[in-house]
């Protein structure tokens, strides 16, 4: 079933179409959830998070643009997995990978949105395979060993290229007027 048809049927209340979406994307959703919550959470938690993501798809299918289902599932999985960690009062993944950013003027949602746009631009400016490595690590939360295995690289090389991506991001923000320092790299 193609994605457009699948979404239209889900919006129309067809649970078989939702079942088809689960068949197609359960492994993907579970993998992202697992990257974020395991450890410390358990495989059962991963399945609960995955089920929650598909329930959200059922309820909010009208929010999903055709052609963007995979991206929507990934974003919702990130949110659900992080929320599960927060509710369990457990540390979030990559919490140590932070930037201390300061700038003139008040901090607000617009600043955060701009920072995300700048981060995207910075990442898009990276050459391959650095761009892919950065996205796999910081969006999908894949471990460096897994990224290395998927790309046929040495884990040390992956870590070096990640560091290069962080440097590029920091430089990109500094060029645009933000004062930016690495924290706990």
């Amino acid at each position: 079933m193609n994605e457009g048809r699948m979404l239209r049927r889900i919006r129309g209340g067809d649970s078989e179409a939702l079942g088809a979406a689960i068949e197609q994307y359960a492994a993907y959703v579970a993998a992202i959830a697992r990257n974020i919550v395991e450890p410390p959470l358990q495989p059962e938690d991963v399945e609960e998070i995955s089920a929650d993501v598909f329930l959200r798809l059922w309820r909010n299918a009208s929010d999903v643009q055709e052609g963007r289902l995979k991206a929507w599932l990934a974003a919702v999985t990130r949110n659900c997995a992080r929320d599960r960690l927060r509710r369990a009062r457990l540390p979030e993944p990559l919490a140590e990978d932070c930037l201390e950013i300061s700038f003139p003027g008040p901090e607000d949602g617009l600043v955060r949105a701009e920072l995300r746009q700048l981060a995207r631009a910075a990442v898009e400016s990276l050459p391959e395979p650095d761009r892919g490595i950065f996205m796999r690590y910081y969006y999908l939360c894949q471990k460096t060993d897994e990224i290395a295995a998927a790309l046929g690289m040495n884990p040390a090389t992956v870590r070096t290229r990640l560091a290069r991506g962080r440097d590029k991001l920091r430089a990109f923000l500094i060029e645009r007027g933000y004062r930016c320092e690495a924290v706990d790299f």
Binding site: Y28, D63, L94, I101, Q117, Y138
Partner: protein
């Protein structure tokens, strides 16, 4: 501010990466769990008995929901939509003189609406009152809301201090024609049932120098046409605790739609 790169990378979706290995057993378990939840959601709601004073204690309702057999479709429908980016939700407040002539029409605009609520109604909702059985420790800030002679509230809040409004308990009525907004950057974080209610948990972010994130627990009754809103900057666990211990009364007093005030907001906030 300290920002996680994980957060900064929130728009960096790697389209061409497919993760995960097919696991038929896990997929089947996920599918079974989802389908079970969907079936539960499809069950029509229990109809109330005769109109008159009806008291529903949520704790009791949770148990009752397990054994209830009589269900009927709701008389009201609540729509919760996210406005398209750039949309400014607006309406009017019309002030009238004593003789009914229009004194002033004020356009009310909500450019930062996170969710918009509209309603379909086959009849008129009725005033809902509540008695709290548990509340968070008082913040020391002002408390708003007066009980009636029998101790029932229609509104109750601990308005807190600074960036905190620990809790606000209020009711949204499903009058057709009315638009209500929940402002801020809002996300639904959980949906399902809560006792005999449909439930949505929503988290909204505001300007951090203005107010801490708000947690909203919506308890929706589309048979009676109301939505109890337990909200505040305290944790969602606190909101759930308040809601679990609420005693709710649906009175016989109708809540008529007033087209002079066709828009409003339900969020916590400081004026």
């Amino acid at each position: 501010m300290k920002l996680s790169i994980f957060d900064l990378a929130g728009d960096c979706f790697p389209e061409d990466v497919m993760l995960g290995t097919k696991d038929a057993a896990m997929t089947a378990r996920i599918k079974e769990s989802v389908m079970k939840s969907i079936e539960l959601e499809k069950r029509p709601r229990r109809r109330s008995g005769s109109r008159g004073l009806r008291i529903v204690a949520l704790v009791a309702a949770i148990a009752a929901a397990l054994t209830a057999t009589a269900y009927a479709a709701g008389l009201f429908r609540m729509h919760m939509d996210r406005p398209e980016q750039g949309t400014v939700v607006s309406g009017t407040w019309t002030e009238r003189n004593e003789d009914g002539t229009v004194d002033h029409v004020q356009t009310m605009s909500y450019p930062d609406a996170g969710f918009v609520f509209t309603f379909e109604a086959e009849t008129t909702p009725h005033v809902v009152k509540f008695k709290p059985g548990w509340l968070p420790e008082h913040s020391g800030g002002p408390v708003f809301g007066e009980p009636d002679a029998e101790g029932w509230y229609q509104y109750l809040s601990d308005n807190g201090e600074g960036k905190d409004i620990p809790y606000v308990i209020q009711t949204m009525y499903m009058n057709e024609g009315k638009t209500l907004v929940l402002n801020g950057e809002c996300q639904v974080i959980k949906e399902g049932t809560f006792g005999d209610y449909q439930m949505k948990e929503i988290r909204c972010s505001y300007y951090p120098e203005y107010l801490n994130d708000g947690n909203y627990l919506l308890l929706i009754d589309e048979t009676e046409g109301y939505c109890l809103i337990v909200s505040g900057t305290n944790s969602m666990e606190d909101m759930e605790h308040i809601a679990r211990e609420l005693e709710v009364l649906v009175t016989d007093e109708p809540v008529d739609y007033n087209p002079d005030y066709n828009v409003g907001q339900i969020n916590i906030g400081r004026g």
